[in-house]
Symmetry: C2
DNA sequence: GCTTGCCATGTAAACGATTACACCTATAAT
DNA sequence: ATTATAGGTGTAATCGTTTACATGGCAAGC
């Protein structure tokens, strides 16, 4: 049944024109006279022609593909961002590759290789923990202007990034608790080496200070965004003789773990302790109690990153400004917070 | 700083051999004599040569890439499977493309195009709702033997698939409830057009029958795997005058929604109603109450699918048997179920 | 009527690898 | 000694596009 797929040559023959004309009809239709153009289109239709990507890529010295670097593909937090990225590239004829940067075998860790061997011509990193080796190689090979960060980022990196306004998020979380009458506010952080952790902690501290609340270092509990670390934080809090009345968690998962842990110890949320999360993942709305949290527009992060990279890739001359696109965050008040 | 990247020609010159020899050293080292081989390796190292993928792909008429078709990238359920797939291809030099089959613009919906234009040479579909048009096109273009299904599948499709033992899962869920003394067992299904829905419902019905439990059609509530549908199911159940004492949900998310909904109506889980989920997603362990559920090995699904496809792709001659690899499931008993 | 310029098209040279085929040893077989 | 064989290497064709350059025709300007 299936013959060899038609080549541009076959289309040219069918339309009675040269291969150059066919190519032009496909990529630059305005150059052609209307009858020729339509003859080509007709021939394309009748032959069922599809341009061969490998050949095009070789000739054009581009890959028509980008890579998304995900720190942990199994983490549902990233999936919505991926959805946004996928959407952002949907109409653009660019293929989206993904890879899990943590599970990359050692000998494939050289990220520049993806560029150098022509597999991709752009990259979106959701991973803010790239090594300095990575960064210097990006610079050396001049691929820095085809990389953007989304959600996370590397400090002082000369690449543009899209992120949520994490600082503000922390502020309004604390503010919300303050308005409910809470004065004794604790914080469970993210992992130590993470920029988000830092910014959220800073925003939190700044707001606590601004409102004249006690700066209790023992109420800053180290976590790592995970359910488990929330659970552990709960044990720490339960063991305190001088307990906070509210906890702002660096992620929703931490909040879930925390609430589960508090419940297990007989403390009720929000009656005994109010809890605020960060992210507004899907489950937040349906947790028991429904979680008060700071919403990040994760799809928006993905979409913007896609748009940004698409821009960088088309206007190659464009200054690779290390601009930061800050997406707004909002407080979603639900049932895990209550007046003191 | 950065010169043009070296070509195979440059390596050949540096090593004092021909391009053919360089190519062989890279792809088929055994063909060469030890000194030549090492000279080439040395030249590769000193020049920093990387083989150009577009050129290789063009010449070899393959893409060295596969596509993963995800029905909804935003759904965290799939992310772990993606992780498994990513792992499965990690050492193999195959690029993993992903696309969200629901957000695909109409004119890109022709899945065979990915094959025909040489962008991919294999596909893993997590989407069991491919159209019959898709299926006939796969057959017509002879790409059926480079496709595998994971988790979901299309009925009667001539492609291999990896799935969990959903039937057994439903059975042991019901059995577990039975052993706890429950006799009035309800079920919230998945979406109507889904194979998983069907199999899980069948397993459930069969077990209910085997145990001589009442077959109450009004205790089969239509859902769609979502939190929301679980919530709606809760309302239905609350409104019943003749309530079940336990509910087996087609997914963990449904179970979460259900529990949240029951709680909102003043019914306690597991005291008033026991609930079993399906999947064992990360949150299940940390929900309140911790969710009793049927564990699917999602990473394993991904890994097996990857291995299967890799096999199909290398042994192209291999009969494209529509074999089914069934992964075992296990009951994880937690706190959402209790004796009647 | 002849030049000039422009526009639509065609011709053919890239792009950078793989590999069929040819060739040239060196060794084994006769 | 001569031929056959095999193994290592080189030469050059090939994969299917895109695009620089060449070409030819036609309208406008003199």
């Amino acid at each position: 049944m299936s013959e060899k797929p038609p080549r541009i040559q076959d289309v040219a023959r069918a339309a009675g024109v040269s291969t150059a004309t066919v190519s032009r009809a496909l990529s630059n239709p305005d150059l052609l006279t209307k009858p020729t153009r339509e003859a080509v289109f007709e021939a394309v239709r009748s032959t069922g022609y599809r341009v061969n990507r490998a050949a095009r890529n070789l000739r054009k010295q581009s890959a028509n593909a980008i890579l998304v670097l995900v720190p942990n593909l199994g983490n549902p937090f990233f999936s919505k961002i991926l959805e946004g990225i996928s959407e952002g590239f949907a109409g653009s004829d660019v293929s989206v590759l993904i890879t899990d940067s943590n599970h990359l075998p050692e000998h494939e860790r050289r990220l520049t290789d993806y560029f150098l061997d022509g597999r991709i011509d752009g990259m979106i990193s959701l991973d803010g923990n790239l090594t300095t080796t990575d960064m210097t190689e990006f610079a050396r090979e001049n691929v820095g202007d085809r990389i953007v960060f989304a959600c996370e980022w590397v400090q002082d990196a000369p690449m543009p990034s899209v992120r949520s306004d994490n600082y503000k998020g922390a502020q309004i979380a604390v503010q919300h608790l303050y308005e409910l009458g809470h004065r004794r506010i604790a914080h469970v952080t993210g992992p130590a080496d993470n920029r988000l952790t830092h910014v959220r902690r800073e925003g939190m501290l700044a707001e606590r200070q601004r409102l004249g609340l006690p700066q209790r270092p023992d109420w800053i509990i180290r976590g790592d965004f995970s359910l488990r670390s929330g659970r552990e934080a709960a044990q720490r809090i339960v063991a305190m003789q001088d307990r906070p009345s509210a906890v702002f968690c660096a992620s929703d998962e931490v909040a879930f773990g925390l609430i589960a842990g508090l419940n297990a110890a007989g403390l009720r949320v929000p009656e005994d302790i109010s809890v605020v999360g960060f992210d507004d993942i899907d489950q937040a709305e349906h947790y028991v109690p429904a979680l008060t949290t700071i919403r990040q527009d994760r799809i928006g992060l993905g979409r913007s990153a896609a748009a940004l990279l698409l821009g960088q890739m088309t206007n190659a001359h464009n200054a690779p400004a290390a601009e930061v696109e800050l997406l707004d965050v909002t407080l979603i008040a639900r049932d895990s917070t209550a007046p003191r």
